[in-house]
Symmetry: C2
Subunit: 367 residues, 2 copies
Amino acid sequence: MAQLSLSRRLRRTPFSDGVEAAGVKAYTVYNHMLLPTVFHSLEEDYHHLKSAVQIWDVASERQVELRGPDAGRLMQLLTPRDLRSMLPGQCYYVPVVDETGGMLNDPVAVKLAEDRWWISIADSDLLYWIKGLAYGYRLDVLVDEPDVSPLAVQGPKAEDLMAEVFGDRIRNIRFFRYDHLQFEGRDLVVARSGYSKQGGFEIYLEGGDLGIPLWNALFEAGKELDVRAGCPNLIERIEGGLLSYGNDMTDDNTPHECGLGKFCNTQMAIGCIGRDALLRVAKEGPVKQIRPLSIDGPAVPPCDRYWSLLAKDKIVGRISSAAWSPDFNMNVAIGMVRMTHWDPGTELVVDSPDGPRRAIVLEEFWS
Amino acid sequence: MAQLSLSRRLRRTPFSDGVEAAGVKAYTVYNHMLLPTVFHSLEEDYHHLKSAVQIWDVASERQVELRGPDAGRLMQLLTPRDLRSMLPGQCYYVPVVDETGGMLNDPVAVKLAEDRWWISIADSDLLYWIKGLAYGYRLDVLVDEPDVSPLAVQGPKAEDLMAEVFGDRIRNIRFFRYDHLQFEGRDLVVARSGYSKQGGFEIYLEGGDLGIPLWNALFEAGKELDVRAGCPNLIERIEGGLLSYGNDMTDDNTPHECGLGKFCNTQMAIGCIGRDALLRVAKEGPVKQIRPLSIDGPAVPPCDRYWSLLAKDKIVGRISSAAWSPDFNMNVAIGMVRMTHWDPGTELVVDSPDGPRRAIVLEEFWS
């Protein structure tokens, strides 16, 4: 860890006062905003997430709003996923690519109406790409960042906690669907989604003034459920194979390299900017791809840069995320591996900061 | 200060090993990259910057490269500054605006040739805006982020140090001009520029492999000049009126509000996307504008959010950057103030974290 100098440029969120009062221990910076990373410790937070319920300040998942007659057309320009059958009330995970098929972000699209969308973004200024396209194409659409801040409720007891605050109607929301629910007289979009495999919801808070009232209401209602402040957990997300844009993939990578081919209907995604490039990739397949890997030995140090993967002293890939998993009793990792060495069971050497260690390509993520 | 969790997503630079060896105490995150903020202490670093020479890892000033027949046209699309008379060898500070005249970044444009430019950016993914425009307009131009990492040499002894490494030819480079100089057989663009008022240079290192050799060569040559590792200094930049994108201005602000009207030749900047909106602003003038302010009392705490400026309990502006200045023996600050209260000498009340204090609008920045 290092020290972080705070400034206005690293934006606080509508929940920051609550996060601080809950004893946040560390942050990262995400979309020019503070994103908590640790409350008790990475491992304590991990065990608690998997057994109880946590409230996460993920306001740094900023929204890009598209509004106007051309909103749907613009949305399809962005992604190789076929959006024609998507309905209001649905959320889609949508790889966003440039004209070469390189990934610019991997957001969740929330369709509010035929002519109104939110795009809940990973860490890059996708707003700028979309504004540039909309202007260049002279589309009839407004593109901006609204005052919308997601608050996630994650963990096996998330549904019970949410029902306390929003009523039992919350139980009927299906995965990657949303409903409109009331809080203090305000209409909030609430989706069953979130950056963990423990189940839960994301509340799209429109209007930062309700941030602390909402935060407090959830903590008040969750006392008997052992609710705590939490955040996306490095260990749990690696176990679950949840990729992180900027860590595990960049604009150098196609969705297919990231194992996101299942979210690409490239043939049918007519209008998608990267379609031509990705049709080629879909046909030939990628030559390297994301894989789960285990790393031998005791807990690895923090993975703050790529660690090379070697086979007979030749680089055949790199690890981009790694952590010690208490539940699986091994170091779990995400890496990009060349096709010559990506078969499950392949033994590689990872050039870790404390020396070479054995790494094994696995068949599947852990959970 | 807070703790920062490191990850691959917060990119290291070609100079990071040197920065760590020099004892960096804190970072910020800038363009998804680590930017040092403190070595000894804010005040010690400040005194040293003003009296000697420092080497700054400003690799986080990422470059956007435009290359191709339409590069010049695209460059003029971006900014209300008239670029017609700009020659290769020159650097221009260029406000970049969207179609409403809102600032998206305030970079330095480096003209390498008629068909090749670098744009040295502040903290936002300007690459995405430019790529979106280039694609939407179907321009014949390549847009990408090259492997170029600026290293700044700043302070009154910067010229002497640079002459030790690059020869006396460096002395002939005028302000905001650059020359091509050799280092270990590699051609480097070296400009007289930098984010301080103490004078100095920025070396645009092409090829990260030379990062540590260049870093070491500068420290070796500077021993007798008391060279140290440093970084943009909060106190010094406020004294000098150097604005920070994301702190003092955002996409809500026009260049005119930021006091950057002198860099706008809106009438002549034909093609500039924000031209229509800014012609209106240029005619009517902004209704609020950046001002230097002093704040009474002892050293203010870190300004990590806007502090409201009040006149008779009515909000008339906000402070966005503030620090105690040892040389001027007062708190120096940058704020945005409404025209009703922006005249020099106007007394306001700033709602600081430790209570209300008197703030005075000043005529000029301190240096």
